[in-house]
């Protein structure tokens, strides 16, 4: 099963690429679900948007624009928000997707559609 395998990364130099950064993602398949985990350090629960548009799943993480605690002596972080788009496989039941954020990690639970789950057929007679 080739689920949510095609993802869109912003093209270099485009508006999206300048405004957002792409979070690193793990996609794991379990018996009943697919789990999508995205690293979005600095994003609170209120800063997360999960949008479902036809078969596209869009995740956005906005970082609070608080005042920095002083001047940067040394800086590696970027002040951009996170955004990434995935194409959902029909094997996913889009009506039951759930999301949670904990310590900067967004976890989406993408349940497999009922009719695609392996079924055990009892032998009768």
């Amino acid at each position: 099963m080739n689920t949510i395998s095609r993802t869109e990364k912003p093209q270099a130099g485009t508006e999206t690429e300048r405004t957002f950064m792409t979070p690193g993602v793990d996609i794991i398949e379990t018996k009943d679900n697919y789990l999508l985990k995205a690293d979005m350090p600095g994003v609170e629960k209120t800063g997360v948007e999960v949008l479902l548009d036809k078969n596209e799943l869009i995740i956005v993480g906005r970082r609070p624009a608080g005042a920095a605690a002083g001047n940067y002596v040394y800086r590696e972080s970027r002040s951009r928000d996170y955004r990434r788009v995935f194409e959902l496989d029909p094997a996913i039941d889009a009506t039951r997707i759930s999301a949670q954020v904990e310590q900067g990690v967004l976890t989406l639970v993408l349940p497999k559609a009922e009719h695609l789950k392996p079924k055990k057929i009892a032998v009768t007679g």
């Binding site: 794991i28 398949e29 350090p41 600095g42 002596v73």
Partner: protein, 155 residues
Amino acid sequence: MELSNRYLENSAGWSAFDQLDSLRREMNRFFESPIEAMPRTLEFFNGWVPVVDLLEDPEKFTVRVELPGMDKDKIDICLHEGALTISGERRIANEDKEVRLYRSERAYGRFHRVLSLPKAVEGDKVKASYKDGILEVTLPKVEEVKPRQIEINAS
């Protein structure tokens, strides 16, 4: 004395070509072996480098480290002779055998970052917090290095 001798021997034996050769062998091994057979803790690619910021205001230094999804007990912070060391390990939470991995982009393993602080800080007043996957360490400066406004007395 013994220690310095050993150090000299080692440095004499060191060669950039040896290092390059071992890197090349490691790379070959990486590309020749199938992905499934790759242990996630391959020596050469082991660990990750979390993003670090150092900020300064008149009162203190603030160090921010992006460490998403960590257990706060697995983060070690150490201040020694003006150098702040932050280290720890991020483990894969889901090591269940029944799962299949489709995509693995997040960093796992050990990390170790050292920041040298530009000015003296009060070691016993250092505080650390961990929220939304960001470790924030505040290090108050010692009195002597804080900027002081000097008023001119009119005489």
